[in-house]
């Protein structure tokens, strides 16, 4: 992998992979929902939508199909630390992909009609998410766990902000953050590095840098006591979530926490883009045995994301029909209390490391996945963390895992959320925090 920084500040990472006649291009921006102030929640994600609406040199009606012509796929996503766009297509489309991303960086239009049309699309996206009780609970739990840090609001934003944000808000935000010195361009695939760099220079070299955007810096104060919330809403199924403030990706506790999560719920790997689409190997894990094998829950999962600032480690369980949430919570907290007190075993450490080793291999099976990983880590911290991940995982000790368990699983650090369904047809909704 070669790393180059252009004069305008654009960082470029290129990795040649000649296993298929494909190339994947990702353009990453250091802007996510944590950069949003009150009143503008959801603006990062809305801008992402607007950046597919046509540019100065790509008329709106020609956006459609611009990469499909090459058999390609394109997409984008916004999360708490970052916004990113990708195209994967045949290698011949490299110029086209770079052209699209250069246009997206410098020349999006934000036509007022398009901004209005997208407002309702995004509200529809939000409402679709609210149809899922588990997603609703996750949103409320996160908001309860964070008092100060902007990780607390959902990436899609709060509905009142989505109803009132203006085109000028959106365009101003776009111009502030979409500058080459706030971006990382990643190319992985059947390309030749020097030639690819020349093509990058052709499309991006002339884009002027902007003022490096300052990011909102807020430290979440230490949580001093357990927080709880209950959503009572019509539904059929009860859900439990327990969130703990967790180490950021640069914290020495991150990789021990990754091991701990593997022991509790199975190794997910480190790829937000692909790992979470395949369930982890978890049947022998502590929480699966305590909740699912005992018939208390139909599923359990753990979530530890690599993030720039300390985010949450969340354990989620779906209560089996007829099982009180209190029983599920009791069994779950008992397992966590045990690892807090005793740590994990040598055999568990060995197994977790083997799982993670395998997952890192499985997560690198396509140019798209490899490119994602390079850009993701460079945007939240440094690509070096990703390349060092195998050795960092291998070096984790039992003591480090025990220490992070004590630090994370203390009762004062947790937020407990219940989705406690009301009978269908009762016509009521209630939330207690």
């Amino acid at each position: 992998m070669r790393s180059t920084t252009f004069d305008n500040g654009l960082k470029v990472l290129i990795q040649e992979e000649h296993t298929a006649p494909l190339a994947s291009v990702w353009c990453w921006y250091k802007v996510g929902s944590k950069d949003e102030r009150p009143g503008l929640t959801g603006i990062s994600h809305w801008c992402e939508h607007m950046n597919f609406k046509g540019t100065a040199n790509i008329p709106r009606d020609q956006v459609k199909g611009i990469i499909e012509q090459y058999g390609g796929t394109w997409n984008g996503y916004t999360w708490i630390d970052q916004t990113t766009y990708l195209e994967t297509a045949t290698r011949d489309a490299l110029d086209r992909m770079l052209f699209i991303e250069s246009e997206r960086m410098a020349s999006c239009l934000y036509h007022p009609d398009d901004c209005e049309s997208e407002r309702t699309v995004i509200i529809s996206e939000l409402q679709g998410g609210e149809n899922d009780p588990d997603q609703l609970l996750d949103q409320e739990l996160t908001a309860t766990a964070f008092k100060a840090h902007t990780y607390g609001h959902p990436t899609i934003g709060w509905l009142p902000d989505l109803q009132t944000m203006t085109r000028d808000d959106l365009y101003g935000y776009y111009r502030r953050y979409y500058v080459p010195n706030n971006a990382t361009l990643v190319i992985v695939g059947d390309v030749e590095t020097d030639e690819a760099l020349r093509r990058v220079n052709h499309y991006f070299g002339g884009i002027q840098p902007g003022t490096t955007p300052s990011r909102i810096v807020t430290l979440e104060p230490e949580q001093t006591g357990e927080r709880r919330l209950t959503i009572r809403k019509e539904g059929t199924t009860a859900y439990l979530k327990v969130g703990f403030h967790a180490p950021s990706v640069t914290d020495p506790g991150f990789f021990p926490m990754l091991i701990l999560d593997a022991v509790l719920t199975g190794a997910k790997g480190l790829n937000l883009w692909s790992s979470f689409r395949v369930p982890p190997p978890q049947r022998s894990t502590r929480l699966y045995r305590a909740l699912v094998e005992r018939g208390l829950a139909s599923s359990v999962s753990g979530g530890l994301m690599p993030t720039e600032d300390p985010f949450l480690y969340t354990v989620s369980a779906t209560a089996n029909e007829g099982t009180p949430l209190a029983s599920v919570e009791g069994a779950l907290l008992e397992v966590l209390a045990d690892v807090e007190l005793h740590g994990i075993t040598e055999a568990e450490l060995i197994k977790a490391k083997a799982q993670l080793r395998a997952r890192l291999v499985f997560d690198s099976d396509s140019v798209t996945n490899i490119a994602h990983q390079l850009g993701y880590f460079e945007t939240i911290a440094s690509v070096d963390i990703f390349t060092a991940a195998p050795s960092r995982i291998a070096a984790v000790t039992l003591e480090e895992v025990a220490a992070v368990a004590r630090r994370v699983f203390s009762s004062s650090n947790r937020t407990v959320g219940w989705f406690d369904p009301l009978p269908l047809g009762s016509g009521s909704t209630k939330s207690d925090v």
């Binding site: 296993t19 298929a20 006649p21 494909l22 790509i58 956006v63 459609k64 199909g65 611009i66 499909e68 012509q69 090459y70 058999g71 390609g72 297509a89 045949t90 011949d92 110029d95 086209r96 052209f99 209005e116 049309s117 997208e118 309702t120 699309v121 529809s124 409402q127 679709g128 609210e130 149809n131 899922d132 009780p133 809403k233 539904g235 059929t236 199924t237 199975g266 982890p280 190997p281 978890q282 049947r283 022998s284 018939g295 139909s298 779906t318 209560a319 089996n320 029909e321 197994k351 083997a354 799982q355 993670l356 395998a358 291999v361 499985f362 099976d365 396509s366 269908l424 047809g425 909704t429």
Partner: protein
Amino acid sequence: MSPDHRASDVVLRTSAAARSGLNPARTVLDNRAVLLTKATHTTPAVTVNLAIRAGSIADPTGLPGMTWLLSRAIDRGTVTRAAADIAEELDGRGITLTITVTRHLFSLVCTCLADDFEPVLALLGEILMSPSLPAEEIATRKGEVITAIRQDEDSPAVRATEALMALLYPAGHPYGRRTKGSIDVVERLTRAQLLQLHADRFAPSELTAVVVGDVETARAADVAARVFDGWRKPVPAPIALPPVALVNERRRVVIPMMNKAQADIAYGFTTVTRGDPAYYAFWLMNNAFGQYAIGGRLGDSIRERQGMAYYVSSSLDANVAPGPLVIRAGISPANVDRAVASIDEEVGRLVREGLTPKELDESRRYLIGSIPRALETNAAIANFLQTAEFFGLGLDYDMRLPELLGAVTLDEVTEAARRALDPDRATVVIAGPYE
């Protein structure tokens, strides 16, 4: 627009020149099991995909969901291994075993490190051939399935789609049944019934074992043959599918779910079998209509121009029996009527006018050009080979596909639309906060 590329030339050149075809090796064992192997060396990993022709159509009459419950319990013990041993063996290697049930196939799929290939294939073979189905495991899995059914009952998307399928495939047709079954049936299923289902339907003649990854073809075939060669069982009786009834009127069903924020629309028709000569015309028609570049024509109208939905698309599932074409959209309750009217309008326009030459050309380029991407990973290749084997498409199907798509004419696409689509014969289901 700059730069000026002629994309079709580029795509066709790449497809023809850069790919030499998958060229999988195919072996048929004495017991009629089929082995398909393909070596790749992208990562030191191997995907194993075992498919038995015993999907949900194998559910005995009056017992929908039995195959699904079998799929939840089959890997929870074998004649030589307890559930905990299997869990340790898979987890210790970082493997997730995914077991799926479609209408026609019961599949065990996993990816493992190349070093683990032999013991993993042996384990999967044992799970497939000799499950013990312990009673206590079945009881636990029943609880999970019942909870999953309850979750489905609270999902507008699932409710709309299942109701649509039941309307398109009525009178107990297997395509119209819920794969997971119903709670009352699941509760009373017994271990003896599951063992009987396995005994009746799981046989080497129904197995296709696909191995793709960092293992040489000859060795993969040799290992697979050792695992399955000794399996001896009679060929199961074929399962006859009832004919698919023609729909001659428009039907509209509303499932009020007033606790939800958004409504889901499922709007559909029955179409053709996978073996129908018009299949490729249907595929291209569906791509242009409801998939190309975020939802095709439907996406352009309902999402892009009218801003009514985050998602709208159509899917075509041509199968052994004439499969459905289903249009789905998530819509704010205030816009449901307008969205259905827009779908009607687009369906009507497609039937009246067909596609434009540009639309057909774009979809064709896309589907042909996406073949290398669709066959990039081991898992994707294995899935492709399973599909090709199931429908008898041939070992060179990946190489013939561009030609098959390339031969479709505008008239054939229009004829496909007229044959299956008609707003006056549409079945429409709306589930959500709408009355």
